[in-house]
Subunit: 388 residues, 2 copies
């Protein structure tokens, strides 16, 4: 790709993101909703100004990594640790219910057992980016509710890994390998536990050493490099890179350099994060939503059913917290689906487990959960005083 084309695409993305965000805020909506819609407008489906390319897609993924890193740095480690049990229960309920609901809806709709299991699995994993941005846009990223949702999304990711392994096992060998499941769970737990324990011991010492270096920007660059290597490590054990980035941020949030890193990462996030949300919007193919195309009808009906159970399953998960928090806020925060569901669906499509219309229905469900969450979450947050 030519440098000019890249620079022009970045220009369009950034301007569209900020105009979209501004319009959204004018209508008292979170900026991220405006960015998503701006993405649809400039994307392939509509104006076609922003085309997907490897370069922009990688930048978008780095945007998601920086978003979660920033969320981690902004968090309070201690308050995050306090809610970790609730995060776990929310994650479990939020995986089990959508899975069961999805299975029965699909089965009732006439799909086979394997197909129905597969559809259920695509509903399980929360895509936390949207929720993080809404909490950020409204200045509530440090609230208990936000911390529980992020924690639950991390656990979610681990469970998602296990489910995928189980399903692949069932499909390829017809059986479930307990050893394989234990291995995956062990590796993920080892990474998360290890990262937090080693990180908490090593990070302050390493930062003290880095702090003695004098070259420009060294502290911030090392903090950012730490985020990158944690993202790589988490990908290496099979988790999403954003899990590692969040853990890196969380570890740094305990050091004395928290505020410095927080201040420096902000402009970097301002540039990178919109790329993620614009590209998320740009990937939406608006023609699927055309109700005048009869070919879409049965797909849209099934997508609507999936959407209903996807929302219901996650909403209920908020009530898995027995502490004094806003349960509805947590449930809504868990609603967005994203990459993990799409990865499942793409796997199913390429292995001929699910059909093309079924794949599109899952895609539509993901898009709907993404777009409805910001306005609903904002309405709930605003009815709830900050220190509840």
């Amino acid at each position: 790709m030519e440098i000019s084309a890249v620079l022009l695409t970045l220009f369009i993305i950034l301007v569209a993101a900020k105009i979209g965000g501004e319009i959204a805020e004018y209508f008292k909506q979170p900026a991220v909703l405006g960015e998503l819609i701006a993405g649809v407008v400039v994307g392939v489906g509509a104006l076609g100004l922003v085309k997907e390319s490897d370069f922009i897609n990688i930048l978008a993924q780095i945007g998601a990594i920086i978003l979660l890193f920033e969320a981690g740095v902004t968090s309070e480690y201690e308050s995050f640790m306090k809610v970790k049990l609730w995060a776990f229960t929310v994650a479990c309920v939020g995986v089990v219910l959508p899975f069961i609901f999805g299975y029965f809806v699909s089965h009732y709709y006439g799909l086979g057992v394997i197909e129905s299991i597969f559809v259920g699995a695509t509903l399980t994993a929360t895509s936390v980016g949207i929720t993080v941005r809404v909490f950020q846009d409204l200045g509530r990223i440090k609230s208990k509710e936000a911390q529980i949702v992020i924690g639950a999304a991390v656990v979610d990711d681990v469970i998602g890994l296990i489910i995928l392994a189980v399903i692949i096992g069932i499909i390829t060998s017809g059986s479930v390998s307990v050893i394989n499941i234990l291995r995956i769970t062990g590796m993920a737990a080892f990474f998360l536990g290890g990262a937090l324990i080693v990180g908490n011991v090593a990070a302050p010492t390493l930062l003290k050493f880095v702090h003695q270096m004098r070259v420009r920007g060294v502290l911030f660059v090392f903090a950012f490099a730490f985020c990158l290597i944690m993202a790589v490590a988490s990908q290496a054990v099979g988790l999403a890179p954003i899990v590692g980035a969040f853990a890196a941020g969380l570890i740094l949030s305990r050091t004395e350099h928290k505020e410095h890193v927080e201040r420096q990462i902000k402009p970097v996030a301002d540039i990178f994060v919109p790329i993620f949300f614009i590209m998320m919007g740009a990937a939406v193919n608006v023609s699927y939503f055309n109700p005048f195309n009869p070919a879409n009808h049965s797909m849209l009906v099934f997508a609507a059913l999936l959407f209903a159970v996807a929302v219901a399953g996650k909403l209920i998960s908020g009530w898995a917290v027995f502490a004094r928090v806003n349960k509805l806020m947590i449930g809504v925060g868990m609603m967005p689906r994203g990459e993990v569901g799409l990865i499942f669906a793409a796997y199913g499509l390429s292995h001929k487990i699910i059909s093309q219309p079924l794949y599109v229905a899952i895609l539509v469900m993901v898009i709907l959960t993404t777009f409805v969450t910001p306005p609903i979450l904002k309405a709930i947050i605003q009815r709830c005083p900050p220190n509840s």
Copy 2:
């Protein structure tokens, strides 16, 4: 390219850059020299940790764009305009002398007329990135000398364009098209003049409008987007993208938001700029410098000759300023050669105007000017009090 591989490469680049920079500063050298050498070490020629890829190369180019944007924002518009006449004379002398010297050295060495003209042309254009970084590393980016060198490099780029057009004309049609030269000069002058005039009128109004927007980071993101679009525009008229980026920075330096943009661009530059210098180092093939390989001897001798006249021609250009400035500092600041010379050389090689060993000799000359400038420039700057 896989996301993990990209993140790992970025990690290695950032850590290597900061360690290299730190070691350089320990030995009282500018950080940029350390980054270049760190690039050689981790690059393909040595450890092979950092491989070139489209993605990283584009990020490196964006790094150069951000470097010049930052230099522009940090500049004082009025003091830059005061030295513009001197920048022009330095550029002219600094183009003419290396061209003549290069021509005669090549001709004396037995090359044909066309070949000798070509070699002369590869010596003309200054690569300003290195010099900007040294002035930045030493806190002298606002000095008259720095402003003259940057201005001369901009003019340089325009002259480089014209020379390339002339040479291509001579080679393809055997004659020089005056109309073509006027067209190119006109477009470049139109862009630079137009950008500064329109920019100075439009930017404050636009920024006042943007300032009323409330969404997070909007002012900085629009400033950055302005840099991107100016880089695209300057590329469109045939100039280097960094010329447009510098002009964008210069325009913003006149607005009331100068300090805000300066503060916000810094962490972004901290991440991107090292990629440029590490990749510059990583592109160095150390095997060319092996004196024990007889195949290198004649090439290295010619490279040494080219290096000598390349340095001499630019050094003298410093004395084209009749004001009270440090002429040696300007001359040394003009020494580094880079992309433009390499683009010329690559064109010559692919059109069979110059031979492969000649191409390598030009490459070695570029590398030498790049690596010797930082220590020499630093020594001169430190002997010269800040307000001379």
